[in-house]
Symmetry: C2
Subunit: 192 residues, 2 copies
DNA sequence: TTGTGAAAAGCTAACGGTTAGCGTTATCGT
DNA sequence: ACGATAACGCTAACCGTTAGCTTTTCACAA
């Protein structure tokens, strides 16, 4: 578990963890807007500048955990069983994701995110950052080496399912309803 | 032109115009980031608090002009010649909009917007604010009194065309390419 | 072991957008 | 003419964020 990391990098990672843990705990306890960066730094016993040395923004403190979630859709396309269509693989993955983050069984974490417009905006941009990667995977699925606008559009639509489904009364049903639209659009996309 | 407005409201409107005009001129001349709110207030000869009494944010100063642009897509659906399909009407409207704001013949105003991430974000949110209105119009087109997730998805897709087309090498071709996808999705949407 | 360079962390001070609190003036309805 | 209130102003601050510069801590080689 000591990972062959030098003392230096271990301490750096520890500082980062301490800041992130402290911040998340404070946000969950008192609310995102009610806790300032200066307070977080104070509680973690570091300087404000150190906080920003590890995290590019206040919002990034919150989302330090669920890294890797973003790549699930890309992998669902790229690493799928070749016998399945890409839209089918995406549909299943989206079902799983929505099941985890559905508002009824909402974890405190997602309630926190939902409580702040800043965090919702930041989350939306996190997804958009992966739109390009997903569009490349989709282009490859069509046999293209680079994405055309139609590929980017499909990626944009798939990434939107999560948001739209979360806001729907029945998220699981919404995933199917919307994926039916996307599957139809997929069939209409230029091939080769 | 005096509009039976009282002196009070005329003065208020005049102040608002003065602030907006001054700000936009300064932004265009020196760049959005290089001009601070305090400078704008100074140049317009008002207090900083007065600026924020008229505009909710610095970004809103820039977009005070092109109000009404947002409703074009909603009107394209609601007020169209009944002989045409909604996707066809939207396609034409989107072609017109992309023609006006294409980067080649970009007006200084749109160059200003493109120069600042803050302004691009704000613009994106302006569109999203109209997603609900467009989804209602689309639901009505299907004979529904309230939008279902599929309607919201279609609205989301149509609003995305503008952004995707602007980033494409050939914006006009991209509009057609993407609208073909949307038309296919439209056909797959639940009816009634 | 010691010296050296660099990464990590710290401090101070500020900037720019935004807001709260509170007073002042002008205008409106009666 | 008068009281209510909208519009505006001033001051002072808060908050996220960054620049500039110093100090601590480690890695590595002489």
């Amino acid at each position: 578990m000591t990972d062959q990391l030098g003392r230096r990098e271990r301490k750096k990672a520890a500082t980062r963890q301490a800041i992130s843990n402290t911040a998340l705990a404070m946000f969950l306890e008192r609310g995102y807007d009610a806790v300032g960066i200066r307070e977080v730094a104070e509680a973690a016993d570091v300087a404000v500048t150190t906080v920003f040395a590890h995290f590019p923004s206040k919002e990034a403190l919150v989302f330090d955990r669920d890294q890797g979630l973003q790549d699930r859709l890309v992998r669902a396309v790229s690493d799928r069983d070749p016998s399945r269509s890409a839209p089918d693989a995406l549909r299943e993955e989206l079902h799983a994701m929505v099941r985890e983050f559905t508002p009824s069984a909402a974890s405190p974490f997602w309630q926190l995110v939902a409580s702040s417009p800043d965090l919702l905006d930041y989350e939306a941009k996190m997804w958009q950052r992966h739109a390009e990667a997903l569009s490349v995977a989709i282009a490859a699925d069509f046999g293209r080496s680079a994405p055309i606008p139609a590929d980017r559009a499909l990626a944009y639509y798939v990434l939107g399912v999560f948001r739209l489904a979360r806001e729907a009364a029945d998220p699981a049903a919404a995933v199917d309803e919307i994926m039916d639209l996307i599957a139809a659009a997929w069939r209409a996309a230029p091939t080769g």
